[in-house]
């Protein structure tokens, strides 16, 4: 039997169907890897009993030649997805011990297709962060280290840091993640994994702990482009329980991989060239442009002049929506309640003071402020109007091009603690990804190269709304050209 840790999801899926390996064997192999990788802190909880039960049920179906698209494939689930009977915390103290009585639609879709749940993955608290340092359950450590012989712990990025680290560390075949400002694509870039944020409305948000409802979208973090296509096909789909989920057919993304990208117009926006950006990222981007050109694409210089306003818009819209969404945590219906209070007001105030971490409080305060009387027009309404202009700017750009190619992140993985003292510096991590959320576009990060410290860097592709197929074609072309094969040294086991 091939070592599970060397198998891609697609290979495992096929081996399961051909009965070369059983789901229980694969599940046990991953559970044992998870056990040995505690130092990465990628999982908040593992669920071995549930995993083995699901694996046995999958094996019964596989034995009869039955089963879904992911039958028997073990996955990690970001702790933002509600999982019936299994603790779901959003990595927050305020939800510690919360065991939903229901299953999120996205995870239900994965179980419908036969996948196995290994456990719940660590993340930034309520998905607010870009380094996984705001989790109540501690930092996640990036499997990748610098090639300087040192042992500095690096961030896997965030907020889906556990998803990225577990896939990069080969602790699961693939993982679910969510992206509100870059939380799938940025950690994917920092860990040499493939991260896909589909079009807003492609995946149901029902049962995903809400952060900023007009921006949140689920997607996969996976080992390669094919694996991410397989995952998204199962995760996506219309859901009447989410009124923003779109009723349109989910294509077979895997089927488009390898189709020619010849003649596709790829836009290169000059505003994504930042002062002070490492030269290696600029070089990699230029390399990516050459790769697309070699594959037969036509490169088109485009201008997106409002790019620099995207992050400020985000830091009004997202906290505003968060302050409203997080009002539900009041110590009454679920989660933590303070022991010490005099009346219902102090019960609310003490519960929330104890339950939320500093970054979450900071964003709730910003959101409350920009929505408060006298400031609503100056901040929130203005931000919504600038958002419209950014949306229109992308609509115009996509009249001229089929895809947009940019770097995924402004830097490679940084050391834990390096940016956490300065919220603004941390926010800038999402500078290339946040536009995709504001405009609702599909976006993906594909591993493209290593910097001189031996750390991975990704390139991002953006596509028209609901045109993930063209995006997957482009991603596959990038992947083929980059031929990225580096792996982190397994220092943690």
């Amino acid at each position: 039997m091939t070592n599970i840790a060397d198998m891609k999801l697609a290979e495992l899926r096929d081996s399961l169907k051909e009965k070369k390996v059983s789901s229980l064997e694969a599940t046990d192999a991953y559970l044992s890897r998870i056990e040995k990788a505690k130092s990465l802190n990628a999982f908040v909880i593992d669920t071995p009993d549930k995993a083995r039960a699901m694996a046995k049920s999958a094996d019964q179906k596989l034995a009869k030649g039955e089963g879904g698209a992911l039958e028997g494939v073990p996955l990690g689930i970001k702790d933002l997805f509600c999982t019936e009977g299994e603790q779901t915390t959003a990595a927050s103290h305020i939800l510690e011990g919360f065991k939903p009585r229901y299953e999120s639609t996205v995870t239900a879709n994965l179980w419908r297709d036969g996948a196995v749940m290994l456990g719940k993955l660590n993340m930034d608290e309520f998905a607010m962060g870009s380094s996984n340092e705001t989790s109540y359950f501690g930092n996640v450590i990036n499997p990748w280290r610098r090639n300087d012989g040192g042992n500095t712990d690096l961030t896997p990025g965030g907020s889906s840091g556990g998803s990225a680290a577990s896939v990069a560390g080969r602790l699961c075949a693939a993982a679910t993640a969510t992206d509100t400002g870059g939380s799938i694509r940025q950690p994917a870039s920092l860990t040499a994994t493939v991260g896909v944020k589909p079009t807003y409305g492609r995946c149901s948000r029902w049962g995903i702990v809400a952060f900023a409802s007009s921006l949140d979208q689920a997607g996969p973090i996976a080992q390669d482009v094919r694996d991410s296509a397989i995952m998204l096909k199962s995760m996506a789909g219309h859901d009447p329980k989410d009124s923003t989920s779109i009723d349109c057919p989910v294509p077979d993304y895997e089927a488009v991989l390898g189709q020619s990208v010849k003649g596709l117009k790829v836009g290169v926006p000059k505003e994504y060239r930042l002062d002070g950006m490492p030269a290696e990222i600029e070089t990699l981007w230029a390399q990516g442009i050459e790769w697309m050109k070699d594959a037969g694409c036509e490169i088109v210089d485009i201008s997106l002049p409002l790019t620099k306003y995207a992050l400020p818009v985000y830091y009004i819209v997202a906290p505003a929506e968060a302050s409203s969404n997080l009002a539900r945590y009041d110590g009454v219906k679920y989660g933590h309640r303070a022991d010490d209070f005099n009346d219902i007001q102090s019960m609310y105030e003490n519960t929330r003071a104890e339950g939320f971490g500093d970054e979450v409080k900071r964003r709730i305060l910003i959101g409350t402020y920009v929505l408060s009387a006298g400031y609503y027009d100056a901040y929130y309404l203005r931000a919504q109007k600038v958002r419209k202009k950014i949306f229109d700017e992308f609509t115009d750009a996509f009249n001229k091009v089929d895809l947009i190619l940019t770097p995924s992140t402004p830097s490679a993985a940084f050391a834990l603690g390096e940016q956490s003292a300065d919220p603004l510096q941390m926010y800038l991590n999402d500078i290339f990804t946040v536009t995709g959320n504001l405009a609702g576009l599909p976006g993906a990060s594909v591993p493209a190269g290593l910097d001189k410290q031996g750390l991975p860097l990704g390139l991002q592709l953006l596509a028209r709304p609901f045109d993930e197929e063209t995006m997957f074609k482009g991603m596959y072309a990038l992947e083929q050209a980059a031929n990225f094969t580096a792996k982190p040294t397994e220092w943690w086991s």
Binding site: G97, F98, K99, P100, R101, Y102, E103, Y200, G201, S214, K241, S243, T244, I246, K308, Y309, P312, Y315, I316, A327, D330, G331, K333, Y334, G335, H336, R337, F341, I344, Q345, S346, M347, Y348, E349, N350, R352, A353, F356, K361, R362, I364, L365, T368, Y369, S372, R382, A383, Q384, K385, V386, R387, K388, K389, F391, P423, L424, L438, A439, G440, P465
Partner: protein, 99 residues
């Protein structure tokens, strides 16, 4: 616009988050820095632009006004209160709010 300590006190109360006295001044500085950076949005001409709340253009879906099955259906009081810190006979228990 710089946020002062009293504004933080007021906003924290609106958000129902108890902030200790010694946190108010540092928070005022942090929030002022972030909002100062956000104010670059004032450079953008928004004359005649519609505010956008969502990128998807969908009508609110309508359905029959009946009790549904499944997770969102009725008749599941045990599930509704299952995770509450304090309950009694399917009621949430909170401190007295009326004298």
């Amino acid at each position: 616009m710089a946020i002062d300590k009293e504004t933080v006190r007021k906003v924290a109360h609106l958000a129902r988050i108890a902030e200790p006295e010694e946190r108010l001044e540092p928070l005022a500085q942090e929030l002022s820095t972030i909002l100062g950076w956000i104010e670059q949005l004032n450079e953008v001409d928004i004359e005649g632009v519609d505010a956008m709340a969502s990128t998807v253009d969908v009508r609110q879906p309508m359905r029959e006004d009946v009790v549904t099955d499944g997770y969102t259906g009725g008749g599941q009081p045990d599930n509704v209160v299952a995770n509450a810190p304090k309950t009694e006979d399917h009621f949430f228990v909170v401190p007295r709010v009326v004298e």
